[in-house]
Subunit: 135 residues, 2 copies
DNA sequence: CCGGATCCTGGTCGATACTG
DNA sequence: CAGTATCGACCAGGATCCGG
């Protein structure tokens, strides 16, 4: 393959955009880059070992619909980010919990959230400035 | 005012999903969580001080259409992540370059990319396993 | 030859109603 | 309580044409 362009650029972390190499990135973005996945993971990370029920999650993630919560939960479960525990009771009870994998994904997510906390004001200013000088 | 953000974002433990507190997160996800923004930033980060032309970017980001490249570039420019340099020449030339803000966003993005590098196989396995035990 | 604007379709998301 | 089913609105995004 082409490792030449990885080292040729001389950056500390050489990055390319060829589709073969960014396929995992694209795929992951398609998953967790959607409207709700990250918020779901964050909601489940409140406490270590935290387990939440469906309705609990729906209450804590502002504005999510039942349908989207179901879909997002399934996605994340399929990707091994969370586990689903069904209790054969009446009324039915289902609890969701982050797996170690999902928990580890929260690390980079926290980095991102941190960045936002630091730079959000700058982005807002940039937008205002851009909108002003653009007719 | 960002003084009041106590543990809203970036706190080590307490994370919530109330819409007021996650508004920046939701907003940023809406921006860079789309199909192309991160790939664009990555493409522009090949070298420090790297400047790329439109067609150059289109070539390096596999599969992006002109329209989407234009849109994505505008978004990122508006958010202050990159700057646009127009040269009054024939044929016309426009160059794009990351701003310090855009450059700093690459830090968390790299963290994410690293995570993918480490955990992608596990996700793939989880999917296979999930698909097998699901009718 | 570059880069931007226009038209149109397909997928995604939300609202609502219903079931185990 | 925890989902599933169906429908419709909306917008991302691809093809295509346009301006310089």
């Amino acid at each position: 393959m082409k490792k030449s362009n990885k080292n040729a650029v001389g950056g500390p972390t050489a990055l390319t955009c060829r589709s073969e190499e960014t396929e995992p990135l694209r795929d992951l973005l398609a998953k967790i880059g959607d409207k709700w996945s990250i918020l779901l993971l964050v909601a489940l990370s409140r406490k270590p070992g935290y387990r939440a029920r469906f309705s609990e999650l729906q209450r804590s993630i502002d504005g999510i619909s039942q349908r989207m919560l179901t879909t997002t939960l399934r996605q994340a479960e399929r990707d091994g980010l969370l586990s689903r525990h069904v209790f054969a009771e009446v009324p039915p009870r289902v609890e969701y919990e982050l797996t170690p994998l999902g928990l580890s994904l929260l690390e980079p997510i926290r980095t991102l959230i941190h960045w936002i906390g630091h730079n959000w004001d700058m982005i807002k200013e940039a937008r205002i400035s851009f909108d002003r000088r653009t007719p």
